[in-house]
Amino acid sequence: MPAEHVGKAGSPSAASRPAAIELRGIDKSFGPVHANKNVNLTIAKGSIHGIIGENGAGKSTLMSILYGFYTADSGEILINGDPAKIHGSHDAIAAGIGMVHQHFMLVEPFTVLENVMLGAEGGAMLRAGAGKARAELERLARDYGLNVDVNAHISDLPVGEQQRVEILKALFRHCDILILDEPTGVLTPQETDQLFQILRALNARGVTIVLITHKLREILAITDTVSVMRGGEMVATLPTRQATREQLAELMVGRKVRLELDKTEARPGDVRLSVRDVTVVDGKGVTRVDKVGFDLRAGEILGIAGVSGNGQSELLEALSGIRPLSSGGIKLCDLEVSSNDPSGPAEVREHGLAHVPEDRLRLGVVTSFPAWESFVLGYHEDDEYNGRILMDREAMTNACGKLMERFDVRPRNPDLRCGNFSGGNQQKLILAREIARQPKVLVVGQPTRGVDIGAIEFIHRQLLALRDAGCAILLVSVELDEIMSLSDRILVMFQGRIVGEVDGDEADERTLGLMMANAHVQTDEAA
């Protein structure tokens, strides 16, 4: 196994050395879906190489082929100049490739040490292997600044450290090519900076790094070279220092994109949604939402920022009637909701609250329903869609078709299964459904998660238009950019509580980032 941990690449000799990875003519189809079309890619040894593209551009498929989850229909893979046959992740590991997945592959009740050893125990009895692994982990921590408590259980670690465990796992298996798939999705801006420091340290010691992302900022911040994928094809590869945000966005989307929004001054009206001391305790007895209170007025967008998993989901579910309150109260226009007097989603909807759920695929649509059936989800009891006994198919399909037109849902086919629409088009369909009836309050969770840039632009404009038309909008998002560009006021959630409020105009990434990590509390704990 080649483990040449040499100095920083970029020396004149780098060009003559074989590339760390070379992909030639990779082609892959899933039935009629052509996920990778004749993809060629060369990743220089010792570089940090970014691969950027919208969701569905084929980035993940390409990396899955490289890591052995799928086999390409045709094409060649060369690792360090040698042709490689990769039929499973074990082949990839043997070739020196390590992968950090978007969703961590960790056994939560196990300790860090146990997770790192998993699959590389080194013998039937654990003790001997554990000793060696412990020593090796100490060395890695020293060399790369990857400090993690090896005896801690994964479930007790914050996500940033869980990610470090994933990196350790790869290094422990002697990888010299590290692939990271959307690694910053769950991190605060500060954690992202720490991750990038680690990546630079690894790179300085000769590890080739492949970073897959859809965030332009990250590409520009850390990579040496960037490749852009669109529609299954590799459309460009260029040195990062020659690239600009606008240019990359255009390459990703295939047309000019406006990244900035024109936002007018908000004109807040009467209070539409009043939340008082709302507490939500889940089935395991864990308090997910802790005495949250705020007022939401007509004609404003209130953003809720926070790292994912700090109670935003539960708050959304409580507001939309999916999850009962444990205590506290909600006043939605003229409807009072409390733990003693709960209201279900149907009742809340009747009182003018529309909900664009954050888990689009599991809540927002039924993926195996045709578009028109998902389009009536939540409104399927309405008179306009029902006869006395039978549902009025024509009315439903027509209504769906009309709004698909207005919201530019593609393909414009109400009979197509929801699962066959791209994320952005599914989201437009849901937005169309929820906005169509001019709700008094709109509650939106992660409106642009897994949505392509073109659709993001469209969705943001729709939300602003709705605000200007006098709707009260609550926006929950883990994308700080989104929160900052849309919100008139911003609340930050941390461990179920509201830990800060910032005016939309005055918000900056650093302040919000510190609030999201609740930095002042951390210093208390350290003392």
Binding site: S29, F30, G31, P32, V33, S60, S64, F69, D73, H101, Q102, H103, D181, S320, G321, I322, G344, P345, A346, E347, R349, H355, P357, D359, R362, L363, G364, V365, V366, T367, S368, F369, E373, V376, L377, G378, H380, E381, Y385, N386, I389, L390, M391, R393, R417, N420
Partner: protein, 375 residues
């Protein structure tokens, strides 16, 4: 990411080719079993296939068995659309038999058939639905898994019916643990009697009017599941419980409704067997139709048309199997059950075993087609 992508196959593969492959595989294995006991498997197959269709008597018997399987297949399918695996069709049909028996025993001396039989059917449906509602309640409001509870309720039903049959309904002096014979007003007309009224001659077989009720049930299930808002709610819960809750649908209520309907559909077996043929409550009259219904529903992809087709196939297996046991004495009745079991195993439990390779093969051909178009 490690999950294999779900390739959508065209309908003809999903509902036509795949079940056919399953069936062929089952027959090959059954053939091997037959070969082991020294019988030519091709002879056996021929006798079996021929025995199911060789004349109008055979066909009538095939349809008579198929009628039961339509009822139980629909029962499984309706529950399945709500995401529930109702293994309890057997017990629900059995208890339904008690419902119609009680009504008939009380009223057969007073009411004409035209009133009595619908009343008996209603009672059967109410009993079947009631028996399904207990596991439904436990699943919806107490979280007990419906597979476990419906299985257990089959045993409870069986024991209960033995007790009722031998200790309560058995006429004094009778040795058989069954009810007395029903009065003539409680006899559902046979198809050969109806044919005779129309001047058509049909052989005397157990095939009775229940088959029309089965057809009506098929139409009803199709309309209900795909054309009404209740069916919409059932499918939403079955396909995506979280999306259903988001939409304001109560999964608890849907579970109760779907299971209630499921039990009522299974009650058709009681109509076919008790009111249509035996004219008395017999022990174990369901004879496994409830379990066969699971395979029928799986093979029929939970769609009424598919269920009718696979029910006829299973009816043919029953009828042909009986002929085979009669023709070749070395093949016992138990062998036939084993062969039917193989078909159930391959088309039911292993229904999706062949999907991956068929999908791969299809993708290959499909790509070729796409490439051919491109050039």
């Amino acid at each position: 990411m490690s999950a294999t992508p779900q390739v959508a196959l065209p309908r003809w593969i999903d509902i036509g080719l795949l079940p056919l492959i399953n069936l062929v595989q089952a027959l090959i294995v059954a053939g091997l079993v037959v070969l082991v006991i020294g019988v030519n498997p091709f002879d056996a197959m021929r006798i079996m296939a021929w025995g199911a269709v060789y004349d109008s008597v055979a066909i009538s018997y095939t349809l008579y068995y198929a009628t039961d399987f339509v009822f139980t297949g629909l029962a499984v399918a309706v529950a399945f659309h709500a995401g529930l695996f109702n293994i309890g069709g057997e017990g629900q049909a059995y208890i339904a038999g008690l419902g119609c028996t009680l009504v008939i025993l009380l009223l057969d001396a007073y009411l004409p058939g035209i009133l009595l039989i619908p009343l008996a059917l209603l009672a059967a449906m109410a009993f079947g639905a009631g028996w399904a509602l207990i596991p439904a309640y436990l699943q919806a409001y107490r979280g007990s898994h419906i597979v476990i509870t419906t299985i257990m309720f089959n045993f409870i039903a069986a024991s209960l019916m033995v007790y009722i049959g031998s200790d309560i309904l058995r006429p004094p002096g009778d040795m058989l643990p069954s009810s007395r014979e029903f009065g003539p007003s409680a006899h559902l007309p046979h198809m050969h009697d109806i044919a005779a009224l129309l001047g058509i001659s049909m052989p005397r077989t157990p095939l009775n009017l229940s088959i029309l009720w089965a057809a009506a049930c098929c139409v009803f299930v199709w309309v209900f599941i795909w054309r009404t808002r209740w069916g919409y709610a059932i499918r939403a819960v079955g396909l995506s419980p979280k999306a259903a809750v988001y939409a304001g649908i109560s999964p608890q209520r849907v579970i109760m409704i779907a299971m209630c309907l499921s039990g009522a559909l299974a009650a058709g077996v009681a109509l076919n067997q008790i009111v249509g043929y035996h004219h008395r409550m017999l022990l174990d009259f369901v004879a496994g139709a409830g379990f066969t219904g699971i395979a029928v529903a799986l093979m029929g992809r939970n769609h009424p048309i598919g269920i009718v087709l696979s029910a006829i196939l299973f009816g043919a297996l029953y009828q042909g199997g009986a002929e085979l046991a009669f023709e070749i004495p070395t093949i016992t009745r138990d062998m036939i059950v084993a062969m039917q079991g193989l078909v159930i195993l391959f088309s039911g439990a292993l229904a999706y075993m062949n999907r991956p390779w068929v999908a791969r093969l299809y993708a290959m051909f499909d790509r070729r087609a796409v490439l051919a178009e491109a050039t």
